[in-house]
């Protein structure tokens, strides 16, 4: 092997190794949002959907798109997390909308969740929408499917349809997304654990370990 070949191969190897390390460890993470900063105020709003109490010691915020497959994949995991800490007053889970433009039914799904929330069943509808994502995601008739889920949840269907198909939740949903953008969210799901960004799907064990560490 000539000297030139060795040099070139050596440099290429170092570059590839460095790139892999950087991407695996740092991709998607922005820096931590410091509590007390103006940015921190954007993580959760007074009227955001949350379990537990606002200002809990450990707050897990999720920015999600109902039509995103990764978000649907992680939904049972976050539900498991919420169930695991439901009796712990120091933990709170907050959901923020982040519908992506390439998902045609994302905003309708978000509005459906809001409409269900109007009747007191946001989290139940959150579950239904994610659990049945493959059914409605590319349907031209998603609104009817959402109405079906509402019926299954014993919601007032006429009220639900009127609410979910109006534009009354547009500002709420858009403001969630704007907060997300300001916080550096550019993919879904993106979580923030006390301001520290966590991008993508995590396992229950990973969440638990991170949350327990902060609860101490």
């Amino acid at each position: 092997m000539s000297k030139e070949t060795k040099i070139v191969l050596g440099v290429c190897l170092v570059i590839v190794a460095a790139l892999v390390l950087l991407i695996v460890n740092y991709s998607g993470t922005s820096t931590k949002i410091e509590p007390g900063s103006a940015m921190y105020e954007r993580l959760e709003r007074a009227n955001s959907h949350r379990t537990g109490q606002p200002g809990a010691k450990v707050t897990l915020v999720e920015f999600a798109d109902f039509q995103c497959p990764a978000c649907a994949y992680v939904a049972p995991i976050t539900e498991q997390v919420v169930a695991a800490y439901k009796d712990n007053p120091d933990f709170s889970f907050v959901f923020r909308h982040f519908p992506l433009p390439q998902h045609q039914n994302a905003i309708a799904a978000a509005a459906a969740a809001e409409a269900a929330g109007q009747q007191g069943k946001f989290w139940e509808m959150y579950h239904e929408i994610f659990a049945n994502q493959t059914e409605w995601e590319s349907s031209a008739n998603a609104a009817e499917l959402f109405a079906g889920y509402a019926q299954g949840l014993s919601l007032g269907v006429d009220q639900f349809k009127a609410d979910s198909q109006s534009d009354k939740y547009d500002d709420f949903i858009t403001n969630d997304a704007k907060d997300g953008i300001a916080l550096g969210v550019n993919s879904t799901p993106t979580f923030f654990l006390n301001g520290e960004p966590i991008v993508g799907v995590q396992t229950f064990e990973e969440f638990k370990a991170m949350i327990d560490a902060k609860l101490k």
């Binding site: 998607g28 992506l100 993508g200």
Partner: protein, 135 residues
């Protein structure tokens, strides 16, 4: 024989370049991240192969192969993503153009990443054959 391989490879690269530009500039389909990487790998081959043909350079495959082989990797990855072999649910959805959506599909299986994969494999094969026959 050698010249034929070079010419055919050059036409494949040209077709790939012009085809991709047609889809983005005429049909308005914005390239996603993976498409950009594939463009970076195949557009230069148009120039490299042209020079190789003009100079009758037997060493041209050595300049083409690194790009075409990496191109196979990227195109294969995107093709498998689109087929759902690489699970989409593992990958977060990003703001911006989706690399997974099948914007174009002919005969039920010909998508843009598929065409790209075929192009890279064709060019790589011809370059390898060209090396073999020039010995």
């Amino acid at each position: 024989m050698n010249k034929t391989y070079l010419f055919v490879s050059w036409f494949v690269a040209l077709a790939a370049m012009l085809g991709s530009l047609y889809y983005s500039e005429v049909r308005g389909l914005a390239p996603c991240v993976l498409c950009w990487y594939q463009r970076i790998l195949i557009y230069p081959l148009v120039a490299i192969l042209a020079v190789g043909i003009i100079r009758q350079d037997r060493g041209v495959p050595f300049y083409v192969l690194p790009l075409s082989i990496i191109g196979i990797g990227v195109a294969l990855f995107q093709w498998l993503l689109q087929l759902g072999v690489i699970p989409e649910q593992a990958a977060p959805c990003t703001l911006g153009v989706s690399c997974v959506t099948k914007y174009v599909e002919y005969f039920g299986f010909i998508t843009i990443p598929f065409l790209s994969l075929v192009a890279f494999i064709a060019i790589t094969t011809m370059m390898l054959l060209s090396l073999k026959t020039s010995n």
